[in-house]
Each structure stands twice: as C-alpha cells, then as structure tokens.
Symmetry: C2
Subunit: 348 residues, 2 copies
DNA sequence: AAAAATAATGTTAGCGGTAACATTTTTTCT
DNA sequence: AGAAAAAATGTTACCGCTAACATTATTTTT
C-alpha cells in the first residue's frame, strides 16, 4: 500500500502552494485554467483521494446525516430508509445508520455517537420504550438539526414527518362500524409514543361518536411486534363469551398478524368469529391466508420528505419547524368480512 | 447554541495541559487519579462531547465501516444488515450504509465516497450489473480491508461470507427430481455474479447427473426481482405445449413470486400445472397462497460472520483471507406438490 | 540522602485540509 | 505608459486531538 497521496504532494510536484491545489480541486473560480488542468492531471496520475475527515474538521461539516430507527426486520423502515437514501445521495450526503432495537439506552448511545461524529443532522424515529426526551433536547440545544419521522416527539420544536394517526384510526373505525361491528377492541401501541396515543384516541373518539360503550379489557397494550400482538390477543380471547369483542383494531400489521395467529390457534376464524384490522400495509398484509384490511402509508414518501426537510434545516438555521402530515388510505381486504359481504351482494 | 466545548477549554479551566486532559478522558494509565477525577467532572460540567472527526484525523482511524448493498426492499439484506449492526455496535463501530440499487456506477460512487470518508473497512454485496472488478482492486491496493457477503467477487484476495450456492441448487434439484419432475426450467440470475453462475451450474449438473436433457429455452435470465421473474416466466409460458417444463427452479424468492403471478394470470396452477421453487426464504415465502419450497439461508449469521471477519482484517493486516461458506437448508412447502403427496400418502 | 526508577505532566509537531488575509502577476482603463 | 482593478497565487493560522519525546515530581532502592 503506497502512502496516501495528499494535497501537499501534488503541490510539491507542481511547485505551487497547497492552496492553489486545494482551489483547483474544489473548482474555485479564481484559479488559472491551465493550472487547474495541471493539478487535476497530477492528482489523477498520483491517485489522489480527498480526505473527507480532514476536510470535515477544517470545514466543520461532515456531509453525513445520522438515521436512527427502532426496527429493521419488517418492511416499513427499510422502505423509509430507501426514501431517505434517495434524497441524501442526490445531495451528496451519506447516511450513518443506527438501529436501536426499540431500546431507549441504545437510542441515547446512538445519538451521542452521532453527535460526536459531528453529523450535520439527524433523522430519528423514536424507540418504543422512550420515556423522556432529554436526549433530544441535548441535541437541539447543541444546534444539531433534528427531524423526526413516523414516531415523533412533540413539543421540542423539531420538525416531524408523519401520517395523521388520529384520522387514520378514525378511518379504520368508521370502516368497522360501517360494517356493523359494535363490540370493538383495540390492541394499542405504547402510549409513550404520540403515534400510540393518537391511534388510541381515534379509537376512543370513534367509539364515543358511535355511541358505543367499551370495556377496559378491550384495551390491551401490544407493542409493535407479532409476539406482542399474539400475547395481547390471548388476553382478549380469555374474556368470557359475553365480553368478547367482534372486531379488533390493531395498532399495526405485525400485531394484527400475531393476533390472527392467536385467533387461529384458539380455533376461531377471521373474520367470521372476529374481524381484524391492521395499520401500515406490511408486505405480508395482502399475502396472508386472510388478507388484512389495513392503512396504507406513503412509506417511501415519508423518507423523502423527512430527508428534504432535514437538509433544509441543515442549510439554514432559520428553516421553519414544520409538522408535515401525509395522507393515508384505507385498504379493504378480507379480514373484516367486507369483501365477502360485497361478494355475496354481487351474487344476489 | 453554546460554542462547542473542547479539550483545550477543560485544560484551561483546570490549569493543566491538553495532553493531561486527553489522557484522563481516554482513561490512560499514567494519570494521577485525582487529576483524572477533576477532568471527568469538569468535562461533564461543561458538557464536553469528544470530536471524533478530529480524533479520526489524528489517529488515522474512524471507527466506522461502510456497508454497500444492492437492495433493501426485500427481507434478505435488512436481516443481514441487522447482523452486521449487532457485531459492529458491540465493537463500537458505526455503520455507514450505501445502497446501490443494483447499479454499478452507484456502487463505484459509493466505494469512492467511503474511501474518502476513510472508513476502516468495507462490507459489500455486489450489484447485479457489475461487469468488472477494478473498483474493488483500487480499494484493496489502497489497503482498505474489504469483505464480501452473499454476492462475492472471486480472485481478488478478499474474504467472502456466503452460502454454497452450488450445493444448495443441487439440493433443490434433487428435491424436484425426487418428486419425479424431469422437465425442469431455471430462471437464473445474472451470470456476472458468482452466485448466479453457481446456482446455474448446480442446475445443469443436476440435470446431467439425472440424465435429463434440457432445452436452451428453459434457461431464462430473470434478474432478482418479482418483475424479472414475472417476465422471464412469461417467456417460458409462451413455449409450445410439448416444450413446456413441469417445474421451474427460480434463482430467488422474489423471482419465484413473480413467476407464480405469471402462472396464475395464465390460468395455470402451482404446483399442479407447474411446480416452483425459490431461494432465500423471503418473509413472504410461507405466507403466499401456495407456500413456496425454498432454500433457507442463515441471513443474520451471514451478517455477523461477515462483520467479524472484517473487524479481524481491520485489526490485523495479516488476517487470513477466507471463503466462509455457511450451511443452508431446504424448506419443503407446497409449491412442488411434495406436501400434498405426502398428505395423500398419510391418508392411504 | 543521593542515585535510580517510576509516575505524572508538559511541549512540540503533525494528521490533511481550508479560511482569511497578503502578496504578486496580469489585465484593463484612461 | 502608469495607475487602478482584477485575477492568480502564496502565507499564516487554525479545525480538535494525539503520538512521541522532554521535563518535572514522586517514589523506591541501597
């Protein structure tokens, strides 16, 4: 391995100053075009590779943004990251990814490291068990642009790109209630997260507006995983017959899938015995035995919008803090019996 | 935003030299314990955050590794990355991710940027359309540890973590042939990739060893996507009846899923009319209407092993170059009729 | 208690690049 | 042609931190 080529060596080679070389390499205006030419040639000949570490130190800018996310196994976050990557790479930013596994301490650790790496900004989707926002405040106080996506912290003066969880929950509930379901349960996400609260509120308000009373036992926290959904559903299934809900609105698709598994193992059928709804439109939602009625989120767009917003925050300290809310869409499949009913109708 | 706290400020505050502060912060042995105590306290009080950019420049080490991968939408790579992340974060390395979208020029660009960012090493899975390996050689010549995973370039003296594609292909073929299929087609991946060639060789050798003749029309390149599988399958379906294969071995699950779509749209049934096999065990494989017989890869383990190997290369220039081959397993589901047949058997 | 060994701290220089200002060269203008 | 303006290049200092060597303070040894 040859010693790394530096600007200095190019300068010596051409008998000019380092600054001239630097200017030529960065395509500044005030360099003689012939000089620039010679510099470029020599750089190529010697195999010069700029050292971004040194450049970052001198410029106090790293051209990298941190992306902190809680989960990677399911389809939502990879797709969001793809959107982020698209925008970042177009703007010559690199992504430093940190996975938190839904764990607050890992999240804190990740943010500290990213700050020490002096990333120019951070995109973050909160971990499930985050119970306070001090570690975000530190970053904001230190002037590091921070933009949330999907799972946002409120009241910190940071931008956020998300869907309208409350309205989307209403959408789902309207659908269920329109199909005549009255006893509706909700496997909800962590109430520490705004997203969990909003979907829960949507559920409650929909029940209220439909004059439907609900039992406390119909509210079970499930987290966001299949396992959580499975266990939460088993709590529901353990209820006495008269207390058993006819439909269950799940906080997301993995939970819904876990719940369906529990229902199936209990010898019951979806949607005949219990209707199920999801949220997210996981790749699996349309493929499972009973395709899942769910909310479609503009996943890729969330990533792109979030990245764009962050880049604007990076470009200007005065960029306005925004709460960007993207539209969702209800996808009706078979897990609530709607399709079947309409099929029946068409047969009539 | 307060000005950033540096070692210098701590040094002035305590009236010691910067070196003493540096040593204390890095927990070196030869610092008076009381001094160390005072430094740590002051650092905490002032809100000192180490600047890794400066540290990296001084030490010529960035504690970050680049991960270059071609696809993120399906489940394979996210799972591998999860494995990589696990090992990296345990060793206090950060991941800089670069997504190439199966595109060689993006791959080249990504590698250049990573080199300029002076990552300590790079993990890479080749893009589909890579047709030469010069850009890898540059890195290797520059002494940057490079380890391939899943899709490896051979003959470059770089370590590689992968499965045995040839043997796995044989496994699939043996299964099909054991079920009595003789007219077997293969939707193959790009032959530029070792992986594509190996699976293709496995197919050919299996046919040969079974004394089965095959037509050239049964070999169709499909790439790695659903769309590619769909289109390639349509080529097969356009064959005259007597030339039609009874089974199709697909290079991976997305291709198999695309192929099944094409078959279904052609009004045919899997496995009754045509049997299908996949490769990868995508999350969807067991969920689709006709669950897919496929090869299970130790995805997470590939990530972990690759990361460990790379870290060892980083730690020592003398680390032996290895070709690490992990075991796979055939998962028999219903897309070849095997399950059904055995069910029939049990009824008898 | 003086010499030797050890521990603690300090000094200098450099990692590779760039901003800001200074100087020299070239061009433009009257 | 000489002054002024513009263009090209050079010099100095610094970004924040650490290695390597130098020095000073402390402890150990006989």
């Amino acid at each position: 391995m040859n010693k790394r080529v530096t600007i200095k060596q190019i300068a010596i080679e051409l008998n000019v100053s380092m600054m001239t070389v630097s200017r030529a390499l960065n395509d500044r205006s005030n360099v003689d075009s012939r000089t620039k030419q010679r510099v470029l040639e020599t750089a190529a000949r010697l195999g010069y590779k700029p050292n971004y570490v040194a450049k970052s130190l001198a410029l106090n800018k790293t051209f990298s943004i941190g992306v902190v996310f809680p989960e990677i196994s399911h389809s939502f976050f990879p797709e969001v990251i793809k959107g982020i990557e698209r925008v970042a790479s177009k703007n010559e930013y690199q992504l430093i990814l940190s996975y938190t596994a839904e764990n607050q301490s890992r999240e804190i650790q990740a943010l500290q490291t990213l700050e020490s790496k002096r990333v120019d900004g951070i995109l973050i989707s909160m971990a499930q068990d985050v119970d306070n926002t001090d570690h975000y405040k530190v970053l904001i106080d230190d002037g590091i642009p921070l933009t949330f996506f999907d799972r946002c912290a409120t009241g910190l003066g940071a931008s956020c790109v998300r869907i309208d969880d409350y309205q989307s929950a209403l959408l789902v509930m309207k659908h269920l209630m329109g199909l005549g379901y009255e006893k509706i349960a909700h496997l909800h996400g962590p109430v520490e997260l705004e997203l969990g609260r909003q979907r829960l509120e949507g559920y409650k308000d929909a029940m209220k507006s439909g004059n439907l009373s609900f039992r406390e036992e119909w509210l079970v926290e499930s987290g966001f995983s299949e396992k959580g959904g499975y266990e939460a559903m088993n709590n529901i299934l353990a209820l006495r017959k008269p207390d058993m809900p006819e439909a269950v609105m799940c906080v997301n698709d993995p939970v819904a899938i876990g719940a369906m598994e529990a229902i199936s193992l209990a010898g019951l059928k979806v949607p005949d015995d219990i209707a199920i709804t999801g949220f997210t439109d996981d790749v699996r939602a349309k493929l499972i035995r009973v395709p899942l009625t769910t909310i479609e989120q503009p996943t890729y767009a969330i990533g792109k919008k979030a990245a764009r917003k962050l880049l604007r925050h990076i470009a200007s300290k005065d960029e306005e803090v925004e709460d960007i809310v993207l539209d969702t869409r209800l996808i009706v499949r078979e897990s609530c019996g709607a399709r079947k009913k309409s099929e029946k109708l068409s047969v009539l």
